[in-house]
């Protein structure tokens, strides 16, 4: 019929293809890419390109709002689908563990060293101050802290906190305790990361504060001649946990540094580049803290021999260093 509008004829000729694309997208969005048939997968790029060109033509010839809105929405959805990520969650996790995480950590050496300086600096400061004068302990920690593990406690009591009497614990208590610690530590780690945005200053404070707590507690045990035993008690999971906290701090400093000193990039671009790397490290910290919580909740309470504790601590240290810093082959694909 000659009397039809040009824009209407245009739409009549193409709308079945638009609707085909719509159907494929809806199916993919609801049930995942895997449920698309081969024909649908093959048709998708052609239908997508056609919809995109329809949109630009429709904008210049049609005044039908509905058609233009429909095409805008269809093309946006199709664009994100066609150019979106196609990997599955499992593949992404494997890539994270095999490449992304160690690469992000090993390329952030400077921030890691800085973070370690703040943390262990805080710990050393508190340790030596407390050894000189135990009053510092109260200054740092206030009263009623650490379950009675303070300078007033007896050697026997402190020794008792390091070793667990095998008949002493209910089976579920350990897991409850370790999950509580995990929750707490992981939240602090994410905090240290997020606070990096404020130029890293709150991150530094958080690191020093946590270092001071460890250092002053160390001094209490050292003072009572329990340094060797306490190290085993702390480090069996501490190697993993403290590394995680140091790395979380490093993630914060990466962001803080990128926002404060963007270098040749714009501040936005610099924040974005650093943010991706820092988030990878922070995600890894959560994993490390899960491992630390398992070591803490089970390993520490069940293993009461100093030698085995030291062996586990040394083993985890070697494992993390090798995992993060030993260079690996470039991916072939």
């Amino acid at each position: 019929m000659t009397d039809l509008l040009k824009s209407y004829r245009f739409r009549e000729e193409r709308q079945s293809d638009w609707q085909k694309l719509d159907l494929i997208l809806t199916k993919a969005e609801n049930n995942g890419v895997r449920n698309l048939s081969d024909e649908q997968m093959l048709a998708l790029p052609r239908l997508y390109r056609q919809a995109v060109s329809s949109l630009s033509v429709a904008r210049s010839i049609s005044l039908d709002q509905n058609v233009i809105n429909y095409l805008e929405s269809l093309c946006t959805r199709a664009y994100f689908f066609v150019y979106g990520a196609r990997t599955t969650l499992g593949e992404r996790m494997m890539q994270f563990l095999r490449r992304d995480w160690p690469a992000a950590v090993s390329s952030s050496l400077l921030a890691t060293v800085l973070s370690a300086l703040f943390f262990f600096g805080g710990a050393m400061l508190a340790f030596f101050l407390c050894l000189q004068d135990m009053d510092w302990f109260w200054t740092f920690n206030g009263h009623s802290f650490f379950d009675g593990r303070n300078p007033d406690a007896t050697v026997e009591y402190l020794r008792g906190t390091i070793y667990t009497d095998p008949s002493d614990h209910g089976d579920g208590q350990l897991s409850a305790f370790s999950s509580f610690l995990f929750n707490n530590n992981a939240q602090i780690a994410l905090f240290a990361f997020a606070l990096g945005f404020a130029f890293g200053i709150p991150t530094a404070w958080l690191l020093v504060y946590n270092g001071v707590m460890i250092g002053s507690m160390y001094a209490v045990f050292w003072d009572k001649g329990l340094g060797y035993e306490f190290t085993g008690w702390l480090m069996i999971h501490g190697v993993t946990e403290l590394s995680a906290i140091v790395l979380a701090g490093a993630a914060g400093f990466i962001i803080g540094g990128a926002v404060a000193f963007p270098g040749g990039h714009t501040r936005l671009a610099s924040a974005r580049l650093a943010g991706q790397r820092a988030a990878t490290i922070a995600m890894g910290c959560v994993l490390m803290l899960i491992i630390a919580a398992i070591l803490e909740g089970f390993g520490r309470q069940l293993i009461n021999s100093d030698e085995i504790r030291y062996a586990v601590a040394g083993g985890t240290l070697v494992f993390w260093l090798v995992y993060f810093y030993v260079p690996r082959k470039a991916p072939s694909a």
């Binding site: 509008l5 719509d22 509905n66 946006t76 150019y83 579920g172 509580f180 991706q276």
Partner: protein
Amino acid sequence: MSAKPPVPLRRPGLSMEAAVQRRARMAEEMRLAKMTRRLVTPEGAAIQLKLASASERAGAFLIDVAIQWAIVIATLLGLGAIASAMSNGGANFAFAFWMVFFFFVRNFYYIFFEIGQRAATPGKRILGLRVAARDGGRLTANSVLARNFIREIEIGLPFQFALMGGDQFGAWMALFGLLWSGVFLLFPVFNKDKMRVGDLIAGTWVIRAPKAKLMDDITSAAARPETASRFAFTQVQTDAYGIHELHVLEDVLRQSTQEIKAQVAARIRTKIGWTPIVGETDLAFLEAYYAALRRRLEQRMLLGDRKTDKYDSR
């Protein structure tokens, strides 16, 4: 909408009320244009992305928080029922499980959904929003992690400061902290891309991507031979209105009630001086006029002449 030629707001013969309305409409269009970003696809076609407003973002977030709480409470009740049937050790174990579960719901709920194909949490889906990379590239898992880990300082920090009390010094510290962290919370309100701090770090933004439905073309009804021959509008009559009025008429035809259609039909008849044909219904008249008006305006548009609205008298 592409750039329009500037049209003076006051014209002779334009009533005060109409001028005010028109100005408000143009301000609204300007506001919408400010929220629109152009994305040029690798094929060279432009797609208009509409940014989600801060209030839509907040709405989606509230829905998500409600869902998170529902999950956490439901799990707590479920575990409580299981644990009460078991020994003390079992209760402890259930509590341990719940603590870890709580952490993951709190921090990984958003990540889990945004890493998926739709790049949107249930709250965002309900409001038709999704996360997208600012540079138009693909949304990486790292970006999703970054934008959600940052949430800790945007929501968690103000919350903690608000709950912090204590002595006078502590209260002042809390107030200061609240103001400081409030900057992060209100960040999306104060930048033109409506980004959270997390979006800024991750290189993302949140756009509106509602599903639209393709409806029938209104002119298909008017093109039937028996209607087409009955309504013959002159060129003067089809030049009475512009694109804005055409779009309003489309909305009226697609979604308004019978009474509104009758009112609109009456106004158009008066404006163009149309004498009703015997047996003509309001709907048939409106559809026929819509078709005629669109034909005329599309013709003019092809020749590079966009008549913006009825006051645009070129």
